[in-house]
């Protein structure tokens, strides 16, 4: 599931911080419980469990990232990247 993030362009990855936790260690279990995770794997954005055992399409991922962007600048970068992706996919 985390591999879908590798499909994002560098300018988007620049302001996204992503981390994969393993359920096989204490840190991962604590994170799973803190996020109120239900199933594995789950993709969270800004602490919300958005994709629970579903790999999002790149379109869905962009929509979720744009909705979660914290600044207008981030939204603009994401929108531009999404439009480029739409035009070239």
């Amino acid at each position: 599931m985390v591999d879908v993030l590798n499909t994002l362009p560098p300018e988007v990855k620049d302001f996204i911080e992503y981390k994969e936790w393993s359920i096989k260690n204490a840190e991962g279990i604590q994170m799973f419980m803190a996020r109120k995770g239900k199933v594995l794997p789950t993709l969270c954005i800004n602490e919300a469990c958005l994709y629970e055992s579903i790999i999002p399409t790149i379109d869905e991922l962009y929509e979720s990232l744009i909705a979660a962007a914290k600044t207008d600048e981030q939204k603009q970068i994401l929108q531009k990247a999404f439009e480029h992706y739409e035009a070239t996919y």
């Binding site: 599931m1 591999d3 499909t7 096989k24 055992s53 996919y89």
Partner: protein
């Protein structure tokens, strides 16, 4: 008990005692004091590890190898080796190329890692005794994700023809791999393994995955062997779909409710397997493995059920 009990259960039949199939994977290497990297590339060590694990865990059935990079690596696709895990595919040749441009070939028994696996399988067959040998094949969707990368999940929505072309091609690779396990090695059971199958929607599974599995399942059935589907993750939403794929048995992850899986399997006359909690009980010990085993055995019953890790 033993081989026939596993076959009977996988075929959905009653067994007087529930058979036990531990998916030891590269833990088999650890048990003989070797690394996964070494064991997976040495037929003598692989055979020794599997036979040792089957004896140690008093198995009724055991997989020869649980490594979903075999097919891709045998096509020349790059993977990274680990000493404590199976290798991981790190190259996606169809990420930016068409099938024709990439010129990929379906690997046969003489290609890549297959000669080592075939040699190991024949040695295991000689030594294993009354234990079912299970061949595990990388399923079409998982193999398609190796070939195309994560884009395959978007392709299924935005470019369905391209997705179908790649997944169908992967299905042909799975079918040849299934033939190798069934005919060249003589495995009693061959399963298509789809770890990412649980991460697509039911209609997507029906449209792309079920058709791509048919050639592999036909190969297994025509060789007189028993077929199965193995899935990882929370596959609750597609468990019923898996029951009408055509495979004799469906084996599931620890996250599934075994009562629901049992009811689906009984409805369709399939075998089913699972789901001792691999992470919560066996790995972390958060749940008592003995109590967890009793819960699974109580839910599974004796019709078509095989006790396995999930």
């Amino acid at each position: 008990m033993g081989k026939q009990a596993v076959i009977d259960a996988y075929e959905g039949r009653y067994t007087p005692v529930v058979p036990w199939v531990p998916y030891v994977g590269v833990h088999a290497a650890y048990l003989i004091g070797e690394t996964a990297t070494k064991v997976l590339q040495d037929s003598d060590l692989l055979a020794k590890a599997v036979v040792n694990a089957a004896e140690r865990y008093k198995a009724d059935g055991i997989p020869l190898i649980f490594d979903l990079a075999v097919e891709a690596m045998s096509m020349g696709i790059k993977a990274k080796w680990f000493d404590d895990n199976p290798p991981t595919v790190i190259e996606h040749p169809l990420a930016d190329k068409t099938l024709a441009e990439a010129n990929l070939k379906i690997p046969g028994a003489a290609d890549g890692r297959f000669p080592t696996i075939i040699a190991a399988g024949k040695k295991v067959k000689e030594q294993l005794g009354d234990v079912a040998l299970i061949g595990l094949v990388c399923g079409p969707l998982t193999l398609a994700s190796h070939l195309r990368g994560a884009k395959i999940f978007t392709d299924m929505v935005k470019k369905p023809e391209l997705a179908k072309e790649i997944i169908d091609f992967a299905g042909k690779i799975s079918a040849e791999s299934a033939r190798i396990y069934a005919e060249e090695i003589g495995c009693d059971i061959v399963a298509l393994v789809e770890p990412v199958g649980s991460q697509v929607r039911p209609d997507t599974y029906d449209k792309f995955v079920i058709p791509a599995c048919q050639e592999g399942l036909d190969v297994i059935h025509k060789s007189g062997k028993t077929s199965a589907l193995y899935i990882c993750g929370d596959a609750t939403k597609i468990v019923e779909n898996m029951m009408y794929t055509g495979a004799s048995c469906v084996c599931v992850d620890e996250q599934l409710n075994m009562n629901y899986v049992r009811d689906c399997a009984l409805k369709y006359g399939r075998g089913f397997g699972g789901n001792l909690k691999l992470t919560l009980a066996l790995s972390l010990g958060i749940i008592d493995p003995r109590e967890d085993a009793l819960v699974s055995l109580a839910a599974g019953g004796k019709i078509g059920y095989t006790f396995s890790p999930g």
